[in-house]
Amino acid sequence: MLPRESVSVPGFATQVLRIAAKDLRIEWKSREILLTMGYLAVVIVLAFAFAFVTVGGERLSPSVTSGILWVSVFFSGTVALSRTFDRERDGEAIRALLLTPIARSAIYLGKLLGVVVLMASVEVIVVPLTAMFFSAELGSHLLWTALILVLGNFGYAAVGVVFSAALLRSKSRDVLLSALLFPLVLPVLIAGARATSLLLDPKSADLGSAVFWTQFLGISGGIFVVLGLWAFEPVLSGD
């Protein structure tokens, strides 16, 4: 038997980082989520391209381009959300996770961080691709656009991780996840798409609105994370 003193519980931030690192390390071995998510995102962008763009036709307006980008990010994000807890079901790994002496909120934040990193990794490919397909001016506010995407990812994943955990034992997981998640996170989509469209428009003088929508994303993301922290423990504890 191990002596009791040898078991030390790491600090909260370390716990969060270790959960995220665990998920990302498992993902890095198979790259299953990254590849399927990235592929789905690209296919969605292409589907919109085939539906809207005609040969020699006019360039799409920035609002349509940003809408396409955000829809592809949202739909592909469900892959990351459903798989992140699917893996915990394999071999009942969730039991082991819940038995570890770490806070439930650390599990939530760790999972959230993992999903945000996965979504951001896919965006690194999808955003330039969308800009290229639809000739969008991405360069003028690149860092700002990246900030908006990361804030959007946080808002989306903050709600998604709670539902993904709640659906851990449900059979109709994938159907319910999208049906319940999308109406709740639509404000994030609206704010993200509006802000991005303003930044993609080189003639736009309305950067004040872009600041407003960025703040909106930050505040709504913050509220969602607080509610998520609150609801995660009872939701995960099972019936």
Binding site: F163, S170, L176, A179, P183, L184, P187, A231
Partner: protein
């Protein structure tokens, strides 16, 4: 006989509730008369009278969402089955009054704005709130017993949407009339408006209690059925 002593614990609504039901029926029989007699608004004309139905329904959509969130909190953190029933019943009422809001609004919009729907912040946020409550009801109906906690979490996030709906007309420049329009109403209009608001709220309470009794009876029946199954197996 021994089983004659077994009486159901929920005996249905009592005399107070029957009085409320009667008052509600009488009120709703008289309310259209009051609305017809209310003064006609100068700029919008008779179509403004939809306001007496639309605003109470919108208020009840928000109230139902908050009550649903309250019940869900009691269920999630205390395991209260009563809280779960309260949440389920109020979610259904949110969907019902949401439909009334989303039907009466566009009817007014068609005359006032020339179109049924505008992608205005108030309209969009109300539609989103209603969609979330529809998702709640769907999850409860098709998600099985595991969906209880899931739906409760959904109700928590839905409650965060309510301030957004209410404040949307102040945050964004919208074409939807602001909430400050109510204190500017004339005395007669104000009387009709608050009577309508009261009657609709009473209707909400009556539906809430009646539906709650039904849910409770259903829960008791489920427990009884499980007891009988256990008894037969033994």
């Amino acid at each position: 006989m021994a089983n004659q002593a077994a009486t159901p614990s929920s005996r249905g609504p009592g005399a107070v509730w029957m009085a409320a039901v009667v008052l509600c029926i009488l009120g709703f029989a008289y309310l259209p008369q009051m609305v017809v007699q209310a003064p006609i608004e100068r700029t919008m004309g008779p179509v403004q009278k939809i306001f007496y139905y639309h605003v109470p329904c919108a208020w009840l959509l928000m109230l139902s969402t908050f009550v649903c969130a309250g019940g869900s909190i009691a269920y999630l953190f205390k395991g209260s089955m009563r809280g779960d029933r309260v949440a389920r019943v109020s979610a259904e009422l949110a969907v019902l009054f949401g439909i009334c809001t989303l039907v009466t609004g566009p009817l007014w919009g068609r005359v006032a704005w020339g179109v049924y729907w505008q992608w205005d912040a108030r309209l969009t946020s109300s539609l989103l709130l209603w969609l979330v409550m529809v998702a709640y009801v769907m999850a409860r109906r098709f998600g099985g017993p595991a969906s209880r906690k899931l739906a409760a979490a959904l109700a928590l996030f839905a409650a965060a949407d309510v301030p957004l709906v209410y404040l949307s007309v102040h945050i964004w420049r919208t074409i939807h009339p602001k909430t400050t329009v109510v204190p500017t109403l004339g005395k007669e209009m104000m009387g009709v408006f608050f009577t309508s608001l009261g009657m609709f709220t009473l209707l909400w309470v009556v539906l809430f209690v009646l539906r709650g009794h039904l849910e409770k009876a259903r829960d008791e029946l489920d427990t009884l059925a499980l007891d009988v199954e256990d008894h037969l197996e033994a």
